[in-house]
Structures are given as structure tokens and as C-alpha cells.
Point group: C2
Chain length 189, copies 2
């Protein structure tokens, strides 16, 4: 958790960044294509047009590589909206998350990361979703409105969203995701 990508800190620009991007793209493509396993370092390197040695050096194992890719993928795709009310923020945010999770490639990446990355990979798949949730709730609290706990909001929103995406074949759509918010927040819809 201290330095997932030690190389990027010392030399951020130029070829290193290019190699990193190519490897990330290769991982995403291969995970989306291959059924499930079979994701090996030589395969990733060949797809990225990079020597396998490079991948072995920068990322120790396939699990760390997947966790790194997942961290990048699940951070920044969804932004925290600001509609003026907690209900509006959560509705838009939940719909965005649901849309993001509906992508089969994202799903494949998440499953592969869970399998190979262990606990670290699982946390990478959450990205900063819980932090975004906390930010929206905190903003509402600053406005003086009644707010649920972050824990409860995560149970009511992230739980169903991720459960459907990972374990069911049919990911929820945006309307269903917005409905989750109505169940979480009492009062007039």
C-alpha cells in the first residue's frame, strides 16, 4: 500500500509512461478476450509490444499487475456529481456506477483482479467509490440535511450494484440504480 508503482514516482514521463500505458491496455484487452485465466506475463508483454522482462521487473506478479490496472480503471471514471441535494447526487452517481459496471470488459477485469489479486485486488476494484460516497454525504451534512451513515449507504448502494455486476449475469440499469437511492433515503421521492 506504500508504493504500488514505484517506477512512476521517479521517472514519470517519456518511455516509462508509454510502456505503462501499453501494458495496461494489453491487460484490459486480454482480460476481456480470454475466457478467464490464461493471463500470463509473456502474453501481456507480447500484446503490449514490450519485452516480458520489463513486465516482470515493474510488476512482480500478475496479481499486482491486475491490481494496478484495476486501481487505474476504477479511479476517475466516475466523478462526484454536485446537483445541490444528496438525493440528486446519489441518483446520478448510482446511475453512473451502474453504467460503468455494465461494461463486460470492466466486469472481466474485476473478476480477474479478484481472483489473482486477493485482498489487495478486491480493494482496488472498489477504487475510491466509498470515498466518493463519503464526500457526498459529508457535503450534505455541511448543508444541514439529514444524512445516513456511509456504512449504510454503502450497504444500500454499492452492495446491490456490485453484487449484481459480479454474481448475476444481468447488471442493473440506471433506472434500477436510481431506485436504490429511493430505498435508502426516506421521505418524498
Amino acid at each position: 500500500m506504500t508504493a504500488p508503482v514505484p517506477a512512476l514516482a521517479t521517472r514519470p514521463g517519456g518511455r516509462s509512461a508509454r510502456v505503462r500505458a501499453a501494458v495496461h491496455r494489453a491487460v484490459a484487452e486480454l482480460v476481456a478476450e480470454t475466457p478467464a485465466d490464461g493471463l500470463t506475463v509473456p502474453a501481456v508483454a507480447a500484446r503490449a509490444g514490450v519485452h516480458p522482462t520489463t513486465v516482470y521487473r515493474r510488476w512482480r506478479t500478475v496479481g499486482e499487475l491486475l491490481a494496478d490496472v484495476a486501481t487505474s480503471r476504477f479511479s476517475g471514471e466516475v466523478v462526484v456529481p454536485d446537483t445541490g441535494s444528496l438525493r440528486g447526487d446519489l441518483r446520478r452517481w448510482a446511475a453512473d456506477v451502474a453504467t460503468d459496471l455494465a461494461d463486460p470488459d470492466v466486469l472481466a477485469l474485476m473478476r480477474a483482479t479478484l481472483g489473482a489479486g486477493g485482498q489487495q485486488g478486491a480493494c482496488a476494484c472498489r477504487g475510491d467509490r466509498e470515498n466518493q460516497l463519503a464526500a457526498m454525504i459529508e457535503r450534505e451534512r455541511a448543508r444541514g440535511g439529514p444524512v445516513p451513515t456511509v456504512e449504510r449507504a454503502a450497504d444500500a448502494l454499492l452492495g446491490p450494484l456490485y453484487y449484481r455486476a459480479v454474481f448475476l449475469d444481468a447488471p442493473g440499469d440506471a433506472d434500477w440504480a436510481r431506485g436504490l437511492v429511493e430505498l435508502l433515503l426516506p421521505g418524498p421521492g
Copy 2:
């Protein structure tokens, strides 16, 4: 989906069943021990005291093997309670599921199955949890009580339960699981 274990149908007793049990136990042990990946057919065979050829024949790939083990593991561990009321049934059932998911070995098996088994593995991890939920709800409906849809119950119960188990480090305890039921069912707690 037609015949996950073709061998068991024709010759259920004796050595075949013994081999199957040994392989299942070996998979569970190895998944619990090894960090994440590295689960190979030779390793499983060696742990089970079985020749690798046998594993290759009965289960085509590691993914199918994991899906088979997960199906066995996640079916039958939790039974449908019958307390006389939907609330009581769900409370006990949710607590049982939470307790089951708190086992790190179960968690490791689930993550590995998700990673290697793809969609089939994901369904295997649910086991017959949704069917159990549907059974409890259907029984309450026969009693004439108000019931939520199975979909909503799954979102409110299985969603948080599985989300916490897989993506968070801290699985929910039994009290928290019972609290989920109170949020699902309106009225007096």
C-alpha cells in the same frame, strides 16, 4: 450446465467418489493457503494424492474444477429456517449466511472461483442462495402476509452480504446481517 460432473452419474460409489472428495478437499486447502493464483492441476493432484491425469480427465480446466468445488461448497451449508414468520426466517438465514461468509477459506475459494470460473464460477458462488430466499418469501406469501419481491430482498440482503465479504476486508457479523432484514421489512422491529 448439462453435466458438470459426468463421472458421478454412472459410477457414484467407491473410488470415484473418494477421488472426487480428495480433490475437492485439496482445492479448498490450496486456495486457502496460496496467496491467490498458483493453483495448478499438478499441485491439486499432489495434495490430493491423485495422479494429475485424473484431474485433467474429470475436470477439463482449473476453472471448471473451481466452479465444481464452489457449487458443492455453497450448496447445503446454509439451510432454510422455518421460524413461523418471514422476519424470523430472514433474520436467522442472513445471520447464517454472514457467519458462513466470515470464513477466510470460503472467501478465498469464492475469489479464486470468480477469477478462474468466469460467469459460471460466479453463479456457482451464489449456490442456491436466491432459491432459498425465494422459498422463504413464497412460504410467507402462502401464509397471506405482505412480502417483498425476491429481487428486492436479494438487493437488500445478498448484495450487502456478498459485497462486504468480497470487496471489504471486514465481513459483516450476525447482528449486522439481522439489521439488514429490519431495513428490508417495514413495520415494527
